[in-house]
Symmetry: C2
């Protein structure tokens, strides 16, 4: 396996997707980059266990938001990456999920390109697909869901700069960072004609040991979430695939194993 | 890293996503399962280098389609998994991409559940997100694309059992297995109002050494694809993010590295 893929090089920035949460859901290529890093620049949602995989002497720089502390601006993150790469370091920019699914990875790539810094993107398992998969919830399923759309709830604000009328009509919809704006998301989907009976699942801290799944419908998911005390990070899945999963009434086993009692 | 995640157990079926193509884009957890497998049941799009990671004595069963040969039916695949699991084997069902994004993984999970066989889903990097990421093409980007939808071109047949009118309105659309039905996909998107000038990228054999990217618009991508002689496997990306990438005119370096000349 070590004979494949890339050989991390000094002066290059590796935009690495850390995966949805559990440390061993990073890719083999991503782990290889991390183990050869001189500098690791990481976000809040990255599992701390991954940081332990970098060499002991590697510089570890946290650039996420933490309550009551200064959060790095995007410009500061760009400047850091560029400075360390110019100093001849192997720079790993470690981002939760996949770098290019609502991770501002595109902006970081462009900033590096403008500065003439070589950049390699190492894809990661995005939470949007990896978290439902890990609990046994298929986002697509023959005769049930032929398409899936992914959106961030950041686009469910006052300006609504995405086409929610279109998203409401896609068989399966995955909403990232959906907890804080859940009521607005439900409102938008209902307003654009999605039935109140549409099943919804909220997966809180997906693939972490304290993962929880809360299920309901567009009619009652807000109260379900409130009763359960759902907190970020969580993803929201809307569509008939949730009923498929719920009918199975998955019996969780230790360490992410599930025995499902689906009937075919 | 070995201390994390799951410990593969006899009598359990692991539905493992192999990732988009390059062998080291499997997850660490997926590789761990593979290295402890007694039986590996695999598809056509799985990289052969991954099979070499299973123990030498492991049984390797090909169930994909190959020209001129009998292809296993879905029912035969189910029966195989169930039989081997009941015989007390560690069974790895290795599927290209992610098992639950157009991989019929949901059907396999349900068949196992109906037979009372424990099943663990190990998410993989789906080609839909991993292939664009690896070439530096962000599917979402602030002020350019706030949502992404994924569909299989198998749903662009005569029956059109997904809502193409809705899909045509999502900022970024990724079409899997899109080569054979490219003309129908273009026709559907044009019919539902997507502008002829909308940029399109076809990524052929993404993350493999002979990967190619062909770019055009909805007006000319068919002729571009014909000139280039595009063959499966390939994914199609439709939306303004393709222009963002094309303006960068990425200069490919060996082994998947890219220097992009974006200006911010």
């Amino acid at each position: 396996m070590d004979a494949y893929g890339i050989e991390p090089r000094p002066g290059v920035v590796y935009l690495v997707g850390a995966g949805p949460g559990a440390p061993d859901l990073i890719t083999v290529r991503g782990l290889r980059c991390l183990r050869q890093a001189d500098v690791v620049i990481y976000d809040r949602l990255v599992n701390e266990a991954l940081l332990a995989e970098a060499p002991p002497q590697a510089e570890r720089i946290f650039v996420g938001k933490r309550p009551g502390r200064h959060a790095c601006s995007q410009a500061e993150i760009h400047a850091l990456m560029i400075q360390r790469a110019r100093a001849g370091k192997v720079v790993v920019r470690l981002k939760g999920g996949d770098p290019f699914i609502f991770g501002r990875g595109g902006e970081e790539l462009m900033a590096l390109a403008a500065a003439g810094i070589p950049c390699v993107v190492v894809p990661g398992v995005t939470s949007a697909t990896g978290v439902p998969a890990a609990v046994g919830l298929p986002l697509t399923h023959r005769h049930v869901a032929g398409a899936v759309a992914i959106v961030s709830a950041h686009h469910a604000g006052d300006r609504d700069d995405v086409d929610w009328a279109a998203l409401a009509r896609v068989d399966t919809l995955v909403i990232l960072m959906g907890v804080a704006r859940l009521s607005r998301v439900v409102e938008l989907l209902r307003h654009h004609g999605r039935a109140a009976s549409t099943p919804v699942a909220i997966i809180e801290r997906g693939t972490w040991p304290d993962e929880r799944v809360i299920v309901g419908t567009l009619a009652d998911i807000l109260s379900q979430a409130e009763v359960a005390g759902v907190c970020p990070p969580a993803i929201v899945v809307v569509g008939e695939v949730v009923n498929l999963w719920r009918q199975g009434a998955g019996v969780p086993l230790p360490r992410g194993e599930h025995v499902l009692s689906f009937s075919d």
